[in-house]
């Protein structure tokens, strides 16, 4: 029995060590989600604009971000940008990312923004055009129509897809370990190289990610199921209407 526990002990330690990074992973993810939502909304509205001047930059942004690996984007931001700033200023500005997790929030936020733009755009387009006609016929401006009529309905439609994007984002922040942001994966990497408990270290990392993503995936499944039944307000249904 003691031998069995002895074998398991490193795995427990691996989990505990990986758990140290959970705050950083969740913090960076939360920051990236907020940034990504803002960028995504702007880009979605840009892509749907009737003005070419707004459509064009939004399309280019989405194409570039979705057409390159997140890893490369992280490298450009973490190492490329400081190098560029220092070179252009001929050393007058000593730029480095302080605190380092800013790189994570920015890179993941920019990246997620492109994917969310497509999700939000599809949601806006899924709202029946009659809604817009009704709103406009009441004298609402384009902006009021978006804010009060279209976006709330679009949001409901895309909620599962958005939650899914957040699950993906949590996992993708592991790439940030490469540039030295000490999140879940980085904790595991550091412990593996210190104590050579390589297998338990990465299993611990995997378990911690699962603890984050499984509940979220359940939420996604629940939202999808709720979408299918497309009822009126949830409050009412619960109240037994």
């Amino acid at each position: 029995m003691e031998g069995f526990l002895g074998v398991l002990a490193p795995y427990g330690e691996g989990i505990v060590i990986a758990l140290h990074g959970i705050g950083m992973t969740l913090g960076v993810t939360a920051g990236a989600i907020i940034l990504g939502m803002i960028i995504g909304l702007i880009m979605a509205l840009g892509k749907l604009s009737k003005f070419k001047i707004a459509r064009w930059p939004a399309s280019v942004y989405v194409e570039i971000i979705r057409g390159t690996p997140l890893f490369v984007q992280v490298l450009i931001l973490a190492y490329g940008v400081p190098y560029l700033v220092n070179t252009i200023s001929e050393g007058a500005v000593r730029f480095n990312w302080q605190p380092l997790y800013l790189v994570g929030i920015l890179a993941c936020g920019f990246n997620s923004g492109a994917y969310l733009a497509e999700i939000i755009r599809s949601g806006i387009q899924a709202v029946d055009h009659g809604q817009t006609e009704a709103a406009r016929s009441l004298g609402m401006t384009n902006g009021q129509n978006m804010r009060y009529i279209v976006l709330p309905q679009a949001l409901k439609i895309i909620l599962p897809a958005m939650a899914n994007e957040f699950v993906t984002l949590i996992k993708e922040t592991s790439i940030l370990s490469y540039v030295g942001i000490v999140e879940i994966t980085r904790e595991g990497v550091l412990w593996a190289s210190r104590d050579f408990e390589t297998f338990p270290a990465y299993i611990g990392v995997a378990v911690v990610y699962l603890c984050l993503t499984i509940p979220l995936s359940r939420v996604v499944a629940y939202l999808e199921k709720r979408m299918g039944s497309s009822g009126p307000s949830m409050k009412k249904r619960k109240a037994g209407m």
Binding site: D128, Q131, E133, R136, S137, L138, G139, M140, Q144, P232
Partner: protein, 238 residues
Amino acid sequence: MIRIENLTKSFGDNVVLRNISEHIVQNEVVCVIGPSGSGKSTFLRCLNRLETPTEGKIYLDDVLIEESNINEVRVKMGMVFQNFNLFPHKSVLDNITLAPIKVKRADRAQAEAEAVELLRKVGLEDKKDSYPDELSGGQKQRVAIARALAMKPEVMLFDEPTSALDPEMVGEVLEVMRELAVNGMTMVIVTHEMGFAREAANRVFFMDQGYIMEQGTPQQIFENPQNERTKSFLSKVL
């Protein structure tokens, strides 16, 4: 009240409205009838610029309707759609008060009191906290009428308001419209309800192939049509 000058509308090569000139006066109830694809709905939608006219000018109270003043114009022109287009994420009360509060900057309490009054008029005051999905088609359309009336429009446009309804619900919607007509609301109604047109309209437009082929009082159109197209259409629908 509404003056239409040389209105033409085409979608690509497809000419839907051909050089229509008309004048709709205050308190008038105009019913627009005609076969499918004759341009009736497009005509109505051009009036509040949900469709942009290809050519021609439309005036409301002698003011030219343009892209720059369209929101002010629309406040004065209520519109009711075939598919109701109620806002599904808002309660009946919020459906009605949203535009007065956001567009007219009305006081919320005042807007709600007026909304309840309008709901009473259309016989639905007990539904103010319901959501559109909980209403029947006839109830939805009555709420849609109340929503349009909440902006205190000068004109009401109806785009086939009973076409999406089960037959037993048509009556309750027509009843509300009849009430409006009796009370002097200026109305332009695209409809397939010939009985309603005959009884409630002051004037009937018969449209076909993008023209107003014939127009006149309901008696003239329904009892003594002159145009061959009108005769042939009426013989099929009556």
